[in-house]
Subunit: 382 residues, 4 copies
């Protein structure tokens, strides 16, 4: 079972990369976007470093220098290539990275067929698989950024890449005040930052049944949303001016019409899809313009059973901080989440790019408020 | 009464500056530190712009160009000198700024003696006075930075500048779980960000009766606190390395002894005072090293009746965000607080530099997590 | 005689600063502009460090920390305040700096009255006096920058500060090809970089009898000089775009008219004065637009007897490099000139701000090509 | 003949790239280093833009968007990808670039077989071929940088890539004072910056028969050359400190031994080869340490018949400036050389990476003084 799950998840990463040219695997147009071959190598390094090397007797490391190349941010596991430099590395080649994957997969499969996997190793394995799924979503975001910032606007696929499920609606759902519980308490997998189910007190609120659409967002643009400082955080307004921002990422005003780049190429903006690729500043300014606000993550989680979600990561007005009783895990794995708990905002839900089986209503995604390159959207509260 | 309060607060700003040389009023060693003469002019500009010009018939603006020089961040009130450029302006001279103050004070006194002050103007006046008090604390912080970063280490005063009230103790106070209320609900003045008294649910916690002392902080330093990434946020660890940080701001290791610069000059670190001038990263790393944590702002406020506070602004683990039901005021005053509600952490309490009468247990101070130059300290929770 | 010269030159620096407010002595709006009090202290430090301390028995250093504050770029003489930080230092105060001058002057006068000054010390003294004269010109440039970049445009003096001697003319002077000699060979003072009189071969050339006037430069502006890349060096064109340059420094287009800031305040541009405060890129672009070129420093020096010069430092098309046979002096004084012989262009002549008695036709002034803040102009060659 | 020359030169660029992996064609580790596929595309774009489009009737542009991607610095020919962004472009793919080359080559061959090539077009063609040869040398420099900065130190070739011709010697050659002529005056091709053969006067000098070897440079390192500011320009000393420089580029001190990366991989430094990959600051500091100096470009050219050259580009102490009588060509081609004549130093000779047939003793190569990544060396003068 574990073996099958392992193989299936590992294959999915490669499927995502199938439409790429070799060259697309290599570049890093901004620090936040990693080269696809780096994602493929880094997720592999995770299994090699945390599962095989400490637990599989006789395992021979594929290449000791790969630790330096494919470590992301684990201080405990030694020196690493500075993040902004990943795009300078032409080697290991894409072929080498796939060979590395094949080698580690073969060893992992042998390991998983062995008699008994200790519980703590099984837990690490599950973490590794969820980690790879996180990178699958990053692969989509990063590939879109790489292709969408090329002057030739290459098409990733001529097939429909994502299924969107939104039916526009302007309904709001009432939630009554009271003490609620949030945080994970199931038996399955969750990240450490979801643990510590705890009470929160919420006041009455109404939450939108649907995310904001492109049509609604266009009204904000047309009403001068990007030129009126009143709707923006001070930091957001600085961002608008420094970047001459005037629309979501990937939108281009061409011959009097708003077009946007998608993985299917450059197309007219679809008024009925949920707005996508906006940062926290934009989400918040839009809400202010509407005279509403963003939900807190507690509000979102409590109400999440009452609406459909999953097309866009939805910005909340909650900073990414520890839940009461949060405990870092020992060792390198303890660096997974806790050390990022400052200066970031929580996003809830999931997106069209999230792999199947990788979403929960307790999932706490987080990014710096300036980031647009994820599949992010807005759900309003009033 | 109002008149007397006005005069007394206005005089206090000038008293703080009395020990300065003319030159000390002018410089801006880092963007966050404003020249003292700018503080004196800016607080005056506030009364001129928001009280006198719109409300005092026949008022003649002192100098129309001063709006450009002394506006801080009010987009609604026109162009302003970029914050990092304040220290490039030798004019208006210190004498001119004091003349400007005298002129505005004279007019304000005339205005306040007139028959009747409308309620909304009285509210603005109260805001202006609290605003000036905030700048009084900044004057202390900024003067300390200016003198404390001069290679001659000039002495601000040979008298004791601040009275500290700490009696070291390692007691912790128990608080029981339950729904509590936080936020301002008195009849006096408060800032808009304190409003919206609301319920919060808190779990059991124990909070320290006293802030962390220099002696305790020294143990952290000696135990390698600044060289062990495990205690730090990722962003904090970057800060440590980029700044080669190894102690609180103003600490110098001289001839085998830890000295620190105070407004009384360079002296040996006092083991029994509360540690001061540490940023959120340091506060948080210290707590992690102790196996404890920082309080949330709700915990702090709920427990605040049970301990002494007021010597140090105490970092909480709460991000600075809107309370439920927060409403921005209309007009320029609406820019006072709301637009900063992102990427900052809340500090609670007050410090030795806070003017008398300017503290409340609902007061929400906020700074970016990297800032050390305020009179900040640590209170632990376990 | 030496004593009289010493006193007279030292007094002149103070005369230049007389119209300043205390505050004007302190600021450093850009790295290239030093605070006037720093100039006053640094020139004093030169005499104390190189004359008094090594040569005057029993001399007591005024304040050992001043070496750190007032050293400019002499690596041999210990640590120094980073250049961009000079404007952060409120202390020593202006009064302290004048006290330091008075102390050193008193000691210097005592020293100069003593029996006999060794030849090498006399040479250092002469260097120190020329050094102070160089800083007198910098005082004018830096004061102009400080006041001219203040939004209040303060007037330095209501008297005419400089006498300009230009009578517009479009004459060109012929010089015949041949081997000429350049470099200093008199008996008076010169800098080490002028030494090594040597042969150069020059082709025929014609050199303008007068520098380019504001009227001529305005034609360049009106003809789109700042918007046509063809006239500019690649590096110059980058400079134009990054700075949105469209006129010389201190020029402002106000209500349809070109005004410029002078030490007498903001006035209409005088069409008949020589254009001033342009950098090498601008000088060179102007020459290209005219279909002419800038002189080499050898051409300038050879022809210098045939025209009037001294109102503007004239950009040449010669890079600042060693003359054949150039030798660095031993010790700290060897750092005076040689170590700057890369990436700078030579200017010849002198300017209205050059102190009397401080000009020679062999004088090699040098600045980076981007600098505008000196009293620089253009002389054409065809 | 022209056709044969065209084909042979075009093939050579591709031969240089033959050992590369696809990924190596794509990256741009620093702004100065361009991706190899960009070189291949840009040289092709040159022929398409300047020869085919204006002169070959019926020529159909390969892809109009390529102008944007492959223009380097020709302002006259429209917008272009910002230089630091070249490494962000995964498309056009390497295959596409080779297709582009094949298409343009086919068209060029058809064009060159047509009846008569006008003289001005023939001149442009010759320029285009020399331009491609310049990029062949850049291909070597850039490939070396890309592979040499990869933590895996990939080997470009296991065959000897370059033939070095140096026989170490400490001889110096005397040249007598007098008026000499420099500049090109042959009948073949030269760049516009070599034209204007003119007289120069030179004093007596002695010039080394050979470039400085690694063994000699090691003595400089061992004698503390990189830690003694006295040998360095001020700007060079800043460079040393900012980069913690302690040896030429590509040198690594490993297990007590100096190794260097070459296109054959990481090897022990050969004491008998000419030192390579040093910048002007290093060349100049080395000369100062030896008590000697670098030649001027006139000295180099005049003496060039008396020694062997061609293994290293040799830094001169001449800034890159126009020769007397220099004239920019009309049109885009006029941007080729003239606009770079500021802030750069001249290098003379050629290097092992220079293509055969692409060197002349009048050739004026030029780079900013900080650059190390070319095949640069030192020849001393005393």
């Amino acid at each position: 079972m574990l073996l099958q799950q392992y193989s299936s998840i590992r294959r999915h990463s490669e499927t995502i990369c199938k439409p790429l040219e070799i060259e697309d695997y290599v570049v890093q147009p901004i620090a936040d976007v990693s080269p696809p071959k780096w994602h493929l190598g880094h997720t592999t390094w995770f299994f090699e470093t945390f599962i095989l090397k400490p637990n599989f007797k006789g395992y021979e490391e594929y290449n000791p220098k790969y630790n330096f190349v494919f470590n992301s941010y684990y201080e405990s596991v030694g020196a690493r290539v500075v993040r902004t430099d990943r795009g300078n590395l032409s080697r290991p080649s894409v072929t080498d990275v796939y060979r590395y994957r094949a080698y580690v997969d073969e060893q992992m499969e042998a390991f998983l067929q062995s008699d008994s996997i200790a519980d703590d190793v099984a837990a690490l394995l599950e973490l590794g698989l969820n980690h790879e799924q996180q990178h699958q979503e990053l692969l989509y975001s990063d590939i879109k950024y790489i292709l969408g910032h090329n002057p030739l606007f290459p098409v990733y696929s001529t097939n429909n890449v994502f299924n969107e499920s939104i039916t526009p609606s302007t309904d709001f759902i009432d939630v009554q005040r009271g003490v609620y519980q949030i945080g994970y308490n199931g038996n399955g997998f969750c990240f450490d930052n979801e643990l510590g189910r705890h009470n929160v007190y919420l006041d009455d609120f109404e939450i939108a049944a649907n995310p904001v659409t492109n049509a609604e967002y266009l009204l904000f643009i047309k009403d001068g949303g990007y030129t009126n400082f009143r709707h923006w955080h001070s930091e957001g307004w600085d961002w608008v001016r420094q970047n001459a921002a005037q629309a979501p990422l990937y939108w281009h005003f061409i011959d009097g019409m708003w077009m946007h780049y998608t993985l299917n190429g450059l197309h007219e903006v679809d008024p009925n899809s949920a707005v996508c690729h906006i940062n926290f500043y934009e989400a918040s300014a839009f809400a202010s313009w509407k005279g509403m606000r963003l939900p807190t993550e507690a509000e979102w989680e409590v109400a999440s059973g009452l609406f459909n979600w999953g097309d866009r990561w939805e910005w909340t007005n909650s900073a990414y901080l520890a839940y009461p009783g949060f405990k870092k895990e020992a060792g390198a794995i303890g660096e997974y989440n806790g050390k990022f708990m400052v200066s970031q905002m929580v996003l809830r839900g999931a997106s069209v790019a999230t792999p199947p089986g990788h979403s929960r209503n307790t999932y706490r995604n987080f990014f710096h408020p300036r980031h647009q390159w994820q599949f992010t959207g807005i759900r309003l509260v009033k």
